[in-house]
């Protein structure tokens, strides 16, 4: 299938995302330029990690107004699949394509680590290749990853099963020590109400090969491939 990976000024992970899709999974993947409004037939658009526009003002706040985001918003409204990873997740929240916001880590430190996340809902285009309750080991690297949303909104997204990934310990148990950044309800990844837009702080593209420490991230991309097939 065809993937489009957006490059904003300050994006960092678009190359590795394209590598994972193209070289590891044999997909057709290309870079989309932020000033372009064309999606060139992409069936799934990925907003990658990085520091778009230097993270000025708030992470993702300025990238949200890039010309390409007009097309991404329209694409999402038509049911198109969109994944935001790390900075991409922040952009999707700022663009109101996902509920909530990502704020400074509770420790105030930039965290570069591997974490365990539990698949909370496996009936979505982003998680269908995994099993519900399955624990994946994925890298994180962020300073602003603490997911927050108003209490009533958290209640709604929990009830609708929009929380797709949650930080847990190696045994799959949710606990405060396993929550790296202080996210509400240990939320690591969340989808929109229609389940066609997904944002997550961990980096599946950095967990795409065994020699680089694991390949659990491929399950996210494989899910999308299966759901489109």
């Amino acid at each position: 299938m065809k993937w489009g990976v957006v490059r904003f000024p300050g994006s960092l992970d678009e190359g590795e995302t394209v590598f994972a899709l193209r070289e590891v999974l044999g997909q057709e993947a290309s870079i989309l330029w932020h000033k372009d409004e064309q999606l060139y037939g992409a069936q799934c658009v990925v907003l990658p990690g990085g520091f778009s526009y230097g993270d000025y003002l708030r992470c993702g706040a300025i990238a949200r107004f890039s010309p390409i985001m007009r097309s991404v918003t329209k694409f999402a409204a038509e049911g198109g699949l969109v994944i935001g990873i790390c900075n991409g997740f922040q952009i999707l929240c700022e663009a109101h394509l996902l509920p909530g916001a990502l704020t400074r880590n509770r420790s105030l430190s930039f965290i570069c680590d591997r974490v365990n996340v539990r698949v909370e809902n496996a009936r979505t285009p982003f998680t269908c290749a995994a099993a519900a309750g399955e624990v994946m080991r994925l890298p994180i690297k962020h300073g602003e990853g603490r997911y927050v949303a108003p209490e009533e909104s958290i209640r709604e997204i929990e009830e609708r099963g929009q929380v797709l990934l949650r930080y847990v310990d190696a045994a799959g148990v949710e606990k405060d020590e396993a929550n790296p950044n202080g996210s509400m309800h240990s939320i690591a990844g969340v989808a929109n109400e229609r389940f066609n837009v997904f944002g997550l702080m961990p980096h599946p593209e950095h967990a795409a090969e065994k020699m680089l420490g694991g390949e659990d991230g491929l399950k996210i991309f494989r899910s999308v491939i299966e759901s489109v097939r």
Partner: protein, 81 residues
């Protein structure tokens, strides 16, 4: 006209930065300190037909870009320069 916008973390949202600064102030011996929050201060010049028009424009700027109403509160002052 000169505009000064003050953006602060929304009440009830954990503000680790404010908490860290508060801890530092206390360790310096300022024992009576509480309620420390760290925000943003934005200044800008705007041309507008009237004070009301300027205020309306600044409110839109805040809602659309300068603040994220989910996590931040804002207030602003417009002054004839």
């Amino acid at each position: 006209m000169q505009v000064r916008v003050y953006v602060t973390p929304r009440k009830g949202i954990l503000d680790p930065q404010g908490r860290a600064v508060e801890g530092a102030l206390k360790s310096l011996g300022f024992s009576g300190v509480s309620g420390v929050h760290v925000g943003r201060y934005i200044v800008l010049e705007i041309e507008a037909a009237s004070q009301a028009a300027a205020e309306e424009a600044v409110k839109k700027m805040c809602d659309q870009l300068l603040a994220n109403p989910l996590i931040e509160d804002y207030r602003f002052e417009v002054e004839r320069g």
